[in-house]
């Protein structure tokens, strides 16, 4: 299911609260960088939802413009989104608006760039430690 970015917050709330949907578990948030799509460079954020009560699952994709990827945070809806969103922000630079603490989670705090973007170039050195490639 592909959802527009503006509608995602409402859709997410519906996914969790509607008893027929009942997606009470957000099992994963991933992001994929597509720098060369026909309708412009995109970053896709993918949400994997599970319903423990109804025994079904759903994959939601949200397409964001690559130069300014912004999407509403679902941290208030599924608490587990906290770290998942931080990871997606860290590695792909997706800004989750409304997140209470959107800082890097895997890379060092002062890391530059978002490593899972296709055009990412690793730094020659970090804090004086050379990234020697043998």
């Amino acid at each position: 299911m592909v959802v527009k970015a503006e509608a995602w917050a409402a859709v997410a709330g519906l996914c969790r609260d509607d008893s027929r949907l009942g997606f009470d578990l957000l099992s994963c948030i991933t992001g994929v960088d597509y720098p060369e799509r026909e309708d412009g460079a995109e970053i896709e954020v993918i949400y994997n939802l599970d319903s423990i009560a109804n025994h079904h699952e759903l994959t939601v994709k949200v397409k964001l413009p690559r130069d300014d990827p912004r999407i509403a945070s679902v941290e208030e809806i599924w608490r587990t989104a906290d770290w998942h969103e931080r990871e997606t922000y860290d590695l792909l630079g997706v800004v989750f608006e409304g997140h209470h603490n959107l800082v890097r989670i895997l890379c060092a705090e002062d890391w530059v760039g978002h490593p899972l973007r296709k055009d990412y170039e690793p730094p020659d050195s970090f804090h004086g430690i050379k990234n020697v490639i043998y």
């Binding site: 895997l106 890379c107 060092a108 890391w111 490593p115 990412y120 690793p122 730094p123 050195s125 970090f126 804090h127 004086g128 430690i129 050379k130 990234n131 020697v132 490639i133 043998y134």
Partner: protein, 235 residues
Amino acid sequence: MSELENRNPDPLTKNVVFLTAVDDIINATRANSVWPLTFGLACCAIEMMATGAAKYDIDRFGSGPFRGTPRQSDLMIVAGTVTHKMAPRVKRLYDQMPEPKYVIAMGGCVIRGGPYVKHGYHVVKGVDLLVPVDVYIPGCPPRPEALLEGLFKVQKLMKREKILDRTRRTTKPEVYHAVYPGLILRNAEDGIWANHWGSQGEAARGVGGGGHRWRGPVCGRQGRGVGRRGRALPR
């Protein structure tokens, strides 16, 4: 396991009075009571734990009380991938250890970045960019026997210590070249590296023989640039 040499030259009292050098006594006690720092960073730590457990039992060889604090340790076994995020912590823990201190680089990641040598943007390409390494143990991960052999190498290094020889302490380690620019960059030709990552192409370029040949742990401090003590290790 330490063989103290009786330096009493008098044949009459040789079997009665045991004379030896202070260095030998101190080194023997030190080498037979190695306290490693508990320092597992990744999968190599599993092998390190196995080495400490019943089957391989590092305690048999005068080591083993893995300490939870650097202030009580004299050996840092860097077991596992060192990331850039972890690097300042590694350096700090090393700095907190009292002299004399020794470092074992355990596994491919710690030696040169291992499988992350090319695309691992987050991995420090060898812990000797941070701290001086005494013994390199190749493998992914090295087996406990290999770690034990590395420990023996460290013990041999310990037995070479001289309490009046402070060159090791005062010479700025070669490895600080990354932090202090101007010193020579680590030489990829120095042949300290030979393990099975060598067969994968990128890591093999100009570093040792490559291929699958097992060479055992290699001592890092001997004859590598200024400040290293050039004496060969006793076999």
